[in-house]
Symmetry: C2
Subunit: 152 residues, 2 copies
DNA sequence: TATATTTGTATCGTGTGCGATATAATTGTA
DNA sequence: TACAATTATATCGCACACGATACAAATATA
């Protein structure tokens, strides 16, 4: 294990490929999301709401690893689109609950075919399923590590 | 190989971890870059210029996989900081050449210790060097694949 | 119970990313 | 040589991200 190599590796070859791969993947999503007039971050918010039902702003933040200064405006835009409603909690007046509207619930059907299209986008001999599985595993470990560092 | 599993995997577990890991990693860089008053994208521009010397706007775009609508304002901010100069090429009047100033060249020394600090940030038992190497490899394959799709 | 601290959400300002488009210079072609 | 297509760069508008900060509600503590 070469210390110099490790440093250069992390320096020039880990952060940038993460940055580039993230942008390129998001671009593919955005193309597919165009027809339902959603952005990728908006789609992420809906994904967690479809999965978990009603959540507080803070819970959405936790799931997406984003802060309220990003999530609040995002939720406002989704409320303008009438996909959800923001409602102050009665139990704790600080908490704002996010509730999907009928339109918001219904939208799930309209994006149901996106996973298929994404799979098609990725269909290629250059990256195997095993590699993707391994990639995903390591990414989650990395996220966990970085998330812990951040809270220190 | 389960087709359903693959779809769900790519759908919910590849794009989001890329997005989250990229943001979290960039945040660590930004903290370290604060003292030299650079952002992470600005640092990327300087990295390619330090490595390759004078480049055209288009060459910077190619290296960073960004378009001119992102890179041009980035270069303008770096020019305001007097780290580089933009100069129209004589050969081809469409081309703008980017030249590092003395200050821009000198800044390389000020960020020389960042790789060490990043390595420290990542020092953890949860992710091995082998995993990171494998991660990086797959990311570059993925970038290549996505880049090719984009040009189609 | 008063007050200090913490928590949940929001606001503000700056810097990206990027789709759409514009413009000028160059190249290709009839 | 005209004129169409391409190329390099820039502009504009919008939607994030995020650091810094504000503020009210809840909780902890003296």
């Amino acid at each position: 294990m070469n210390t110099d190599g490790t440093e250069l590796f992390l320096e020039n070859q880990l952060c940038f490929p993460l940055y580039a791969a993230s942008r390129l993947t998001t671009q593919i999503y955005n193309e597919l999301l165009k027809e339902v007039e959603l952005t990728y971050p908006q789609y992420l918010v809906l994904l967690v709401l479809w999965q978990h039902g009603s959540l507080s702003v803070n819970e959405v933040c936790q799931k997406l690893l984003l802060a309220s200064n990003t999530v609040t405006p995002l939720l406002k835009r989704l409320e303008e689109k009438q996909l959800l409603v923001r409602k102050r909690s009665d139990d704790d007046e600080r908490v704002v609950k996010i509730l999907l509207t009928e339109k918001g619930v219904a939208l799930k059907q309209s994006v149901a075919q996106i996973p298929h299209k994404i799979v098609d986008s990725f269909k290629d001999d250059s990256v195997s399923l095993e590699e993707i599985v391994s990639l995903q595993k390591t990414l989650f470990k990395l996220i966990d590590l970085l998330n812990r560092k951040q809270l220190e």
